[in-house]
Symmetry: C2
Subunit: 188 residues, 2 copies
DNA sequence: CCGCTCATGTAACTGGTTACATGATTTA
DNA sequence: TAAATCATGTAACCAGTTACATGAGCGG
């Protein structure tokens, strides 16, 4: 049977989580998204429950029904085909858009900073730097936690988030130095 | 009239582009997305044309019909209400998810690196580092270009992308040093 | 004049969102 | 035992995607 091998970002991440914490329920997968310090997705029930069923229909995971008391539930496990698909999704090869510049909603906003009156501009930058500091503390704490539980990759991912945030902080300070006390029109 | 003040990311960015390059056609807006070195969105016609009409209906932009030869077209300009909405969208205040950890599809994949056999893992990292280097060169060239045209904010945004990519490169090298020649199971 | 790119849209689809419904389990 | 939270879904909606249609202008 002709097997689709492509996965969306959410599908890839979900399949990866199944691989990581299997056997697991859909709710356990949701919790990973919900408690992640970098919530790329809402981890809403409306996304996850249909998604894992989709993966199941494609033979990438198998589910086993169980019951606690009277309530039915399903435990999901990755299949060999699922692992293969997960590996293909991770890469190599790596698509240029994956290794290229990541989306950054803060950078998007800075692009239009000149649309703000000077006072508001300063407050924007102060606000952003404060927000980044908060995020840095949270991520740093999380990374140390992973290290303590000997979760090597979890720690590495946390380090990645941390280094990204620090780079962004350094950059915002550059922007502040550049713009403070200067006047800008649309074209700079 | 009760004016919705919320904008999606694409709507905010589009409104910002109108502010930046007005008066402009929908196609000119598309070109900005299409030629951007960090293509967060496809800039597809099916997204932009309906979107600007939506902005127009909300009174955030106004359009003036023109005609070249027999072909009709529209030039869009931001309204005072539109500028206000744009400013509100930019912030302050800045939502935590905006200043927090940005999504990074490469980091997502690294999270599941232990699912790859060791050889493929090494190739993944080599591939990723090569891809990042390519992106760095492209972004650096773009940033210098903006500087040359005295586009201060354009240059600043390019710098932001550059610093992010460099941080990611440094991080990937950490990951490589950490994993090369080591064996990993799911839980590290 | 043929083909290519510029330009302006429309149509159908879909993945992920919010909101809702409901049952089980824990806690005050 | 009432309230809150855990857990398992379903339903409606919608923004952004790909694919299509079509016309203008230009280069060979």
């Amino acid at each position: 049977m002709a097997q689709e091998t492509e996965l969306s970002e959410l599908e890839g991440a979900t399949l990866g989580i199944v691989w990581d914490i299997q056997p697991c329920t859909a709710y356990a997968i949701r919790r990973v998204f919900l408690t992640s310090p970098s919530p790329s997705w809402s981890g809403s029930a409306g996304a996850i429950y249909p998604l894992v069923e989709r993966l199941s229909k494609r033979g990438l995971v198998v589910s086993e029904a169980f019951r606690t008391g009277r309530r039915p539930g399903r435990q999901y496990t990755i299949t060999p085909a699922g692992l293969e698909t997960l590996r293909a999704w991770i890469g190599p090869p790596i698509q240029p858009w994956v290794s290229g510049v990541p989306v950054d909603s803060l950078r998007t906003r800075v692009r239009f900073l000149a649309a703000l009156p000077p006072g508001k501009r300063d407050r924007f930058l102060a606000d952003a730097l404060a927000g980044i500091d908060i995020a840095i503390r949270a991520v740093d704490r999380d990374a140390r936690l992973r290290l303590a539980e000997k979760n090597v990759m979890g720690h590495a991912v946390g380090r990645g988030a941390l280094l990204t945030l620090r780079a962004r902080r350094a950059w915002l300070r550059e922007v502040r130095a550049l713009t403070s006390g200067r006047r800008f029109s649309r074209r700079g």
